[in-house]
Symmetry: C2
Subunit: 216 residues, 2 copies
């Protein structure tokens, strides 16, 4: 797995001790994030679009309607910057200033390219499905030619990337120690509500496994 060079673009400037350029740190953050936010430039203006993603090796995968502006921008080979953020907890201090969040975030830079060819496109769509629900791909009907025709897929070769995180308790000032207010961390994690379904069938193994992981 690559360790990226902290380029002028990707170099973390603030709280640099919280930064990493190691893909073994960065990729798990990308994989754990359900959505990413893609920044691109069009007519000199910044745009940010939230979307789903998957990853295969050093490529970030994005998909959408074949006609979507973002997908066409990527397929045309333009540079984008994609960010990911996971909030792991609220950090509650004895002072306003030291309030914070525990988080893991990643920022990647790269250039898009079009994914073409039925086999490659299917591989990418499978990566999307399997990222969230391993096993689901084999349980359901695969894409038909018409569905493939209207789906646009792009890959981003990750050229440079960085991660940043915070964990642990609040960093209260020693002189605040005696203030009579609770300090600590509220850990946050995704939870599932009651399933909504009209299906008379039991949930499939991929769904059961997903629900089990959420409760771990």
């Amino acid at each position: 797995m690559p360790i990226f060079d902290p380029s002028p673009r990707s170099k973390v400037r603030r709280l640099a001790e919280r930064a990493s350029y190691d893909s073994s740190v960065i990729y798990p953050i990308i994989d754990a994030a359900l959505v990413c936010h893609v920044a691109f430039v069009a007519d000199g203006q910044p745009f940010s679009i939230p979307t789903l993603h998957a990853r295969m090796g050093d490529s970030l995968l994005l998909h959408g309607s074949a006609g979507s502006r973002l997908i066409r921008h990527l397929q045309a080979g333009n540079e984008v910057c994609v960010s990911f953020a996971l909030v792991d907890g609220l950090v509650l201090a004895k002072s306003v200033f030291h309030h914070s969040v525990n988080y893991r975030s990643a920022v990647v830079f790269g250039r898009g390219r079009k994914i073409e060819g039925q086999e490659e496109v299917l591989q990418v769509l499978q990566a999307f499905t399997e990222k969230i629900l391993p096993g689901r791909w084999d349980e359901v009907r695969p894409p038909n030619p018409q569905e493939l025709r209207i789906t646009g897929v792009a890959a981003l070769e990750i050229l440079s990337a960085s991660a940043k995180d915070r964990s642990g308790p609040p960093g209260d000032d020693p002189e605040d120690a005696e203030l009579p207010v609770w300090n600590g961390v509220i850990p946050l994690r995704p939870g599932a509500g009651a399933l909504k379904s009209d299906s008379p069938l039991p949930v499939s193994p991929s769904v059961a496994a997903f629900l089990k992981r959420l409760q771990e």
Copy 2:
């Protein structure tokens, strides 16, 4: 509350029936999101930075180290685009193609400006604290002059904005109805793990109220 004009920049092109330009739809999404992703252009390149935010009226508030590149970029009056995404559920269909997520997302465009003056800065910092933990501001030590000096605050006047969402069950094709696989929605919502604290004190009212809301 304003209804924004769907400008060429903010106009939602894909699945336009899922789009809204009404601030009464957009602002609750902004307020519910813990983090946003700010896209900006520097040297012609796109950058995307995840960060915390708050909102006061038609202004989006951002803060950070007084020397941070993002904050200085905003304070200098540059245009940015900020996106927000809440994933409400996984939509599991009988075909790969109709798998989706239920979500609420927003994209706003605007120009930054520097927030100056101790009173204004304090008001903004209070908005950040109160957004997540109403009441916390009055429980803890307020910022001192040194803390205020190293905190940079910027506001973004929201000039145009849009929201998009999906809700409801999977949109399976009628011809897939008999496929023997469970379909439905797994609702996702943030949950809290066990509190981490060395404090001998009980949690403060703001924290107790936050934990109660998470369980509703």
